[in-house]
């Protein structure tokens, strides 16, 4: 097994190749560009396609097209590009086309501070498109996890026929750590139809996740971003529209136990529970250790799946504990935590380009004692 010292962004590229990604379309943007650069190097060696598109609108469109033609496909961007990609994410969600979108977060809004980390896209990842649709969003906190979680992102995308957003941040993306390029991770392949070609329905109502044919295999189906029925053709019938939106939500929320990932750290007997993700969770682990050394029972819940929400684990683990949410934004995930546990949560956040330090976290918790 290969061991390397590489950045989180490079680990994403290596993991994507391992997962079977054979198509990448992207547009340069700090701090995600090195993913595109690495993919430009790796994909041709692995018989895959790399293309630098004219913009992010084109990038997301090209990967959707490639996925329809049968390739596992990915793009990588940061906040401003992620905003442009929302129309494509909505299209892929509604027409159920697997793609993986990596967003290495930087300070925003607007052009912000391109080279400094933030976590301001958590809500955009969930609600960035118009209309109602569920989405799967995952977020690693280390380079090793970047490698493994991008594989998981592809698996979830193919399994649930949905775009998956892989959130990262400037710290996780550019930090270098030792990584084992594990070769024994499970790789999921798209479920193909088994019915005769003339009976194929791209949105077969007998399935929550209908089998998906590739273009060119003789099935000749229609894909549209318009509201569609089981045949794939447009409809404005409210009953059909309801059936589609209901199934789209069901296929994700019914499988929350399969999709949801989290890590706990000294959480079991904690009086004070920190909820933090991505780079912020690294500070949180240090804070927990420091507080424990001072005799304060702190613990951490680190969501790895950001969306759909880890409702049950958060409710159960937070039970009887004072909850603190730390994130590099002015309060996004905290809203979801408050919604789930239905009580006030202590919040500290900033989006000024600086990490939240363990000392800041300790101070927050000690002040509330």
């Amino acid at each position: 097994m290969k061991e390397l010292v590489i950045s989180g962004n490079d680990a994403v590229a290596y993991g994507a190749i391992y997962a079977g990604c054979r198509f990448f379309a992207g547009y340069p943007i700090t701090p995600s560009t090195d993913i595109a650069e690495r993919m430009a190097n790796l994909l041709p060696k692995n018989g895959g396609v790399f293309i630098q598109m004219e913009d992010e609108l084109g990038s997301i469109s090209a990967i959707i097209g490639a996925s329809l033609a049968g390739k596992k496909a990915m793009t990588a961007t940061s906040g401003p590009g992620f905003s442009l990609m929302q129309e494509g994410i909505g299209f892929a969600s509604y027409s159920e086309i697997p793609v993986v979108v990596v967003d290495v977060q930087r300070v925003g809004p607007s052009t912000g501070i391109p080279t400094y980390p933030a976590q301001g896209d958590v809500m955009q990842a969930r609600f960035g498109t118009h209309g109602s649709h569920p989405i799967i969003v995952v977020y690693p906190y280390s380079v090793q996890e970047s490698y493994e979680l991008i594989v998981e992102a592809f698996n979830l995308s193919e399994k649930y026929r949905t775009p998956v957003i892989f959130l990262s941040d400037e710290v996780i993306g550019h930090m270098r750590e030792k990584v084992r390029l594990t070769q024994d991770l499970k790789v999921f392949e798209r479920q193909k139809p088994t019915v005769p070609k003339e009976e194929y329905l791209p949105y077969d109502p007998n399935y929550d996740i209908p089998p998906f044919a590739n273009f060119g295999e003789g099935y000749r189906f229609h894909i549209t971003g318009l509201t569609h029925d089981e045949t794939g053709f447009p409809t404005s019938n409210p009953v059909k529209a309801e059936a589609l939106i209901e199934r789209l939500h069901r296929k994700i929320y019914k499988n929350i136990d399969d999709i949801g990932r989290f890590e706990t750290f000294y959480a079991d007997d904690a009086d004070y529970l920190i909820i933090a993700y991505g780079a912020t969770a690294r500070s949180a682990k240090d804070a927990v250790i420091e507080l424990r050394n001072k005799g304060i029972k702190a613990g951490l819940l680190r969501p790895i799946t950001i969306w759909p929400s880890l409702e049950k684990p958060i409710r159960e683990i937070a039970e009887g504990k004072k909850v603190f949410v730390f994130e590099m934004n002015m309060g996004q995930y905290v809203l979801e935590v408050e919604r789930i546990i239905k009580r006030n949560v202590e919040f500290f956040g900033k989006e000024n380009g600086e990490l939240i330090t363990p000392e800041e976290m300790e101070l927050c918790i000690q002040r509330s004692l």
Partner: protein, 268 residues
Amino acid sequence: MYTEISLENLRSSKLPHIWCPGCGNGIVLGAILRAIERSKIDKDKIVFVSGIGCAGRSSGYVNFNTLHTLHGRPLAFATGIKLANPELKVIVATGDGDLAAIGGNHFIHTAKRNIDMTVIVFNNFIYGMTGGQVSPTTPDGAYTTTTPYGEIEEPMDISYLAVASGATYVARETIASPFVLEKYILNGIIHKGFSLIEAVSSCVTEYGRRNNLEDPAAYIKWLKEKSMPYSKVNTLSIKDGIVVGEFVNEEKEEFTEKYYELLKKVKP
């Protein structure tokens, strides 16, 4: 020689189409289907991609692999499809707004790459689907709902832009000459590389009724009268006229082939 449109190539359960009475888009779609029939390409390998707008609806009516994409993006989706599986024959139906306004950047860059696909632009000088707003190709002085006092911008010449951007097959014809249009589309399908056929269509409902062209037959006659053969005028673009003909037909290395050749060299 007249080619019948094979009913097998139409999804008859999706007809009648949504286009207005007197609309020229059916003539363009007919020319496309006859050209496809004449090209004898494997129907299972055709991916028919369209954007948003009146022309965009054409993908729902034809019995191939069909993709109705986002507004302005059909060429970017098509690029992904062709590169992912070069065996597929990609045909794009788009409109003047879809291609030249919101999709302008993709248009320039897809032509520049010379990637193998055939693009048919239904140019009707107007945003028909949204009720008659000015488009990039609306003639100077024309009345639309968003130019109630007459258009003051110069129209964009789609074919001219395609040539400048590096398209290796470019032709323009109006619906007044459907068989010539069909021939150009067939040439585009056979051509290896980025081909663009500008089909000047009509929109009596939204353009015609505001610009003294409310009669469908008179509209087509008007298009015919404004047409000037490229071989005679020897220039691509003329104010107040529609220059028709084949503007470019050149052999040049195609992008997908170049890419897969590159893979052979890189592969360890």
